[in-house]
Amino acid sequence: MLQIQNISKVFNAGKATEVIAVDGVTLQLGAGSHTVVVGANGSGKSTLLNLVAGSTYADRGKVLLRGNEIQGMPDYKRSRWIARVFQNPLAGTAASLSILDNFRMAALRKSPKWIKLGVDSDFKKLVYDQVATLGMALENKLTQPMGTLSGGQRQALTLLMTVMADVDVLLLDEPTAALDPRSAKEVMEIADKIIHENKLTALLVTHNINEALHYGTRLVQMENGKIIRDYDKQEKLTLNHTEVISWFDYY
């Protein structure tokens, strides 16, 4: 499904502040797989996600989706197939727009946005039903601005927005980093449900060891821009919290 081939990214190349963020990473993500990436700060996890999303371009290497090269494509074009949940709940939704308007944009992810009123009663019903599945009692607040909601509510809605149009890949960049433990758990449960129900190929970046062990079918550790550990589903089951923590003893 998603192939990352020998991809590299260097920031401030040739300057004193040069940083090799991603260094020749190769990763194959099968359809419906759920890969979790862990690593210390600056290990290149988020840059890897940005390279897949298209918000940063690679200096070297290829990104292939269903066998087609996409590395030269900007993020807004890749969004037809790749959805994303940001670390900052404010980044994934537009605060001044209502929940309905945010969902309208998500529903038109693959379509042109014409000068026509699209938020009609049918669309409101569709969003009402979708939002009700979250169990957060947000379905009666659809006309409220997104900015009036909590970070956890916004992340949950962002997750739901990703499946308003059919996508193949879901990128989750530390989606619970800014949330309290309860909201974080809720959001991860919703993410897991959405990934399974929609058979999405998911790539989750996290600092949370519990999340890394509990969710996903594969666990990868990055260090200095490289993948240094890669465990499949069976191997992952043998890992425990203490062992994964010990990977970071170096720091």
């Binding site: 999303a53 918000s55 900007p74 993020d75 807004y76 074009k77 969004s79 037809r80 959805a83 994303r84 940001f86 404010l90 980044a91 994934g92 939704t93 537009a94 605060a95 001044s96 727009l97 209502s98 308007d101 945010n102 309208r104 944009m105 998500a106 038109l108 992810r109 693959k110 379509s111 946005k113 014409w114 000068i115 026509k116 009123l117 699209g118 938020v119 006309t143 601005p145 927005m161």
Partner: protein, 292 residues
């Protein structure tokens, strides 16, 4: 009384301008200084068109097209060359001064005697009422069009671009292109204001756009205060607040002038008024803090 009617008419002529500034400054978060140049451009094209006997509709279309081009230039400099929007606007505004002067051929042109929008509509005996009626119809059309556009899928994408670029890019929108459309529409409205003002005052002057962005900004800030005060959330109510803001702003200026403020000090008065409007909430917060 006529003085205040004239002030209201002037405020209505500025109506499209404040809707344009609302779009660029509040929806897109772009401080678009092109406004000073595109307002004059609208007036210059109107003067050239009317004096050359162009049909009235063609004059309006050309003035708005000129505004769209100016807005596109600013947006393309900003998005393609990655130059700050403020500087991009200043560059286009400066360039427009020469373009306007070249088009007009001189520094000002009287338009009295030409058949314009206001002389074309001749129903009431009092000419100000004719002018007022025409402007109300023009503003009603613009208000309905803008309300529809900003509530449409395209308009939601525009609003999201100004709010959260990361979010709307993730929904498949080319934000650079959206900014070009936004500044084009904004400057269409600004040029339309220049076109209306030239016809209302009966002349076009090469310097008539100087500081117009400040007058517009004052009106938008008053409108924004009303939006927050009334907790207005719908697009039509926000636009109505902004239009009400321009009437309040021009009325305050008219009161200041009728109270004896020297007309030569009008720009100074305008700047001070905008400063007071901007600073007032901050002074209030400062006083509250100092009480603690």
């Amino acid at each position: 009384m006529d003085f205040y009617v004239a002030a209201i008419i002037q405020a209505l002529c500025f109506g499209p301008l404040v809707m344009g500034l609302f779009l660029s400054m509040k929806i897109f978060n772009i401080p678009d200084i092109t406004t000073d140049g595109s307002y004059t451009l609208g007036a210059v094209i109107t003067a050239v068109g009317l004096s050359n006997g162009y049909p009235l509709l063609a004059v309006f279309v050309l003035a708005m097209f000129g505004g769209a081009l100016a807005g596109c230039c600013t947006a393309l400099i900003h998005t393609r060359l990655r130059i700050h929007a403020l500087l991009a606007g200043i560059l286009v505004m400066t360039a427009l001064y020469s373009i306007n002067l070249t088009l007009l051929g001189r520094s000002n042109m009287p338009l009295l005697g030409y058949r314009d929008l206001f002389t074309w509509f001749d129903v009431f005996a009092v000419s100000d009422y004719n002018t007022l009626s025409v402007l109300l119809v023009v503003l009603a059309i613009l208000f309905l069009s803008m309300s529809y556009m900003l509530r449409s899928d395209f308009g939601i994408a525009m609003r999201a671009t100004g709010d959260s670029e990361s979010m709307i890019r993730a929904q498949g929108v080319n934000t650079a292109r959206m900014k070009v459309y936004g500044l084009a529409v904004s400057n269409v409205l600004v040029a339309l204001s220049g076109c209306l003002m030239a016809q209302f005052q009966g002349f076009t002057d090469i310097n008539m756009g100087i500081g117009i962005v400040i007058s517009g900004l004052g009106a938008v800030i008053i409108g924004d205060t009303l939006i927050n005060f009334l907790k207005a959330r719908s697009i039509p109510s926000m636009l109505a607040c902004v239009l009400f803001g321009v009437v309040i702003f021009q009325s305050i200026l008219a009161i200041a002038l009728s109270a004896g403020v020297d007309a030569n000090l009008l720009k100074l008065t305008t700047s001070l008024l905008v400063l007071i409007i901007v600073a007032l909430p901050r002074v209030g917060s400062f006083l509250q803090l100092s009480k603690r």
